[in-house]
Amino acid sequence: MYPVARKDIFGLTPAIYSGLGLLAWLALAAQFWLPLPFRLPVVVASLSYLYLHRKTTERGPKGPEGLWYQPLFSRRWQAWGLAVLLTSLYSILYWRPSWLGLGTGGEENTGLIRLFDPLSHCLKGSPASEWFAYGFFYTWAVILFGITFIRKYKNDRYQVYRTYSIMFFQVAFAFLLPEILMSLRYPYVDIKHFWPLNYSFFFDWHLDGLMAAGKLGWLMLFWGIAGFTIVTPMMTWYYGKRWYCSWVCGCGALAETAGDGFRHLSDKSDTAWRIEQRTIYPIFILCIMMTILVLYTRFTGAETLAGISSHSLSHWYGFVIGSLFSGVAGVGFYPILGNRLWCRFGCPLAAYMGLIQTLRLKYTNEGRPADIKPRFRITTNGGQCISCGQCSNHCEMGIDVKSYAQRGEDIVRASCVGCGICSAVCPRDVLNLELKSEEMPTGKV
């Protein structure tokens, strides 16, 4: 028998929770006899229960537990299978939503999407779209896997608080608020989704929508502009990019919860670092150029600038970067390339914040007063590192944390999203995410 009894998450006795488990299976099987409005709640409740139950109950003698032994988390065929499944689902979602049962041309929804009609009616008074269903799944995943994440790191308050935060922002700002706005006949806006991550912010249809929505629309327009001109630089300057990537962002929310088990798959090699720098900044520049072009067209009416058509550039950016990279590959490749593929190699907002995050370091390097340390950095505690490699292995951004720690150097990397997992897993408590601007003595002893 495994000597450590893991308590059931709901604190139930084994008999009751296996009874409930059976009930959950029965309820799933009984779908087709249930009236439509009950189906989604029953499916969600049953599957959530079965998942949490499995995650938290005792298991008998078994094989090794570690990540690199588990087929799904170590790039064996099961992982490839999951990757194929996820990428296919994303492709269907983007390009063949009718396969999921989306009613086209005024027809009623069928299949999967029909399950969401009652909830959609409830929230905004119209049938569900494929994006409504997707948003629901996404939010559900963030909550469900967020719960297991919080249990896993329950002794680390930083992890617990930031996970509550991403769960909150996902539910309230990414899922509910836009739907409610729509029900009030306002445009669909996720107010925490800033340009340049939200690359379509300056597209005609979006600006027109906002401007047509009266005072609230104008407010949102100004908020969106303030978001990338004031809020993001300020917050990043003081707290590092983690304030957004690990506390607010929806992509980060999925990566940190559903993607947590895949974090060790990110490539730590120098080659990967070189590729990273050669993709993330060009994409950021491309995004800026596209936005300038789109605005130029809006204000001058000219379709092209220097021979580039604004329409086709924004179309291709949306297709390649917006859909293929951030969606299909970004999530679909979790089981192969880790949970932050998009955040590391693609996200233009990450590039922008990363530059700000390391700006202060550049100051110190260029002969400015040496006591201006970057505010956000990961400090290492003397020479206490035992080179065990756990931190680097767990870094989802592929940073070789160990190589800094064993030299006693601070870690200030543009890509660090401040998830704090390196610090949480270090068996010798060597790493600390610090904001102190005064010089605290660290470094190798």
Partner: protein, 436 residues
Amino acid sequence: MHVVIIGNGIAGCSLATALAERSEHSITLISEENPYPFARTSLMYLYMGMVRMDDVLIHPKDFWKTERISRIHDRVTQIKPSTKAVVLQHQEMLHYDVLVIATGSKVHRPFWWAEELQGVTGLYHLRDLQKIEILTSKYPQSATIAGGGLIGIELAEMLLSRGISTTMIVRESAYMNHLFPQEEAVIITQHIRKHGVQLILEDEIEELISQENAIQYIRLKKHGLLPCTMLGVTTGVLPDHQLASEAGILTRRGIVVNDNLQTSSPSIYAIGDCAELQHALPGRKTTEAVWYSARQMGEQLAEILVQQRESYQPRIWYNSAAFFSLHMQQYGDILPGSSKEIISISWQQPQKNKSIRVQYHSESKKITGILCLGVRLRHTVCEQWLSDQTPVEDVIRSWIRASFEPEFSENYHQLFQQFALHVLEHRPSTPQQCIQ
């Protein structure tokens, strides 16, 4: 100049890289264990599947392409000081100008452990890990560990991770109370038990009973016969000085070295676990089998060899360990028992596994040691206090500076500080303890 280093552990590896940075010497790093230097401290995480071999290499493989260090994966069978050469098992003899022995430790083998007996293993070398992997590949129901040291507890965690019920036989009355004060030892003992280790305290093995050369039972002095099909022996490590003593170099417990880390043979040095200091430094042992000392010896010998340093001067004694999820840090000397000269201020929250202890000299009031469980202290600050022999009052007043806690964590340091200030105001010259 050709510098040959036997052993690519943290001592040998640190020396090689530091020397390559500082000099033009050609350097050869020899080891029979693994072609690339790796972290021995990570053996348990390798077994548990938390990291792979490539993750625990001290430097990535590419690093070694660019450095001017050649590596040889072979065993040294003999040192010939007279002709300045080392004999290798599979390759040609190698000449050196300077030889550094960094052969580390070997597992201590108590009298009852016959070498060829199956089912008994230590935990030090990669070979041991392979042996444990084979022994546990069929998931035996249970295993026993003899000796409750830091490595024993790691072995217990490894076995438990595969669902093997684990019994630990410890000579002391609480886990490690010969090194830690009773309060801390009790917290650790309870924590280990909570994680599922069955502890047998105040007992030791008398003999092993085997059948067809495989272990069947162990006989304990007090508890009598215990069925056992797998036994891990973690009763300590000994400096591996075999090569040196065979070559006529002076050895005692380890390879004896002077203040320059030089052995009795002038062009031969010894560093790391295998070295024994001729003159112990104040408050320190002559052999220290820990990572940090081995690393410092390697780094400092590089400076000594290029004449940038006079002698080996280790920093303030420091050690750390993890007992499952409970982390320990120690700075300076900690006296486990009580004495007239040394006074403790100790603060505990046993149900939360938190403990902070500061020890100081009863007359001079100078701080002598810090021990904590479940909280994090800032190394540089603690080291400064200890090397400056700061008066305890000043230490307590600026205690918060030493906090290395992550953001949002509960402020145990403040609780400790309040208690300690109170103590110092009222009864500064008697041991004081607060259990919250």
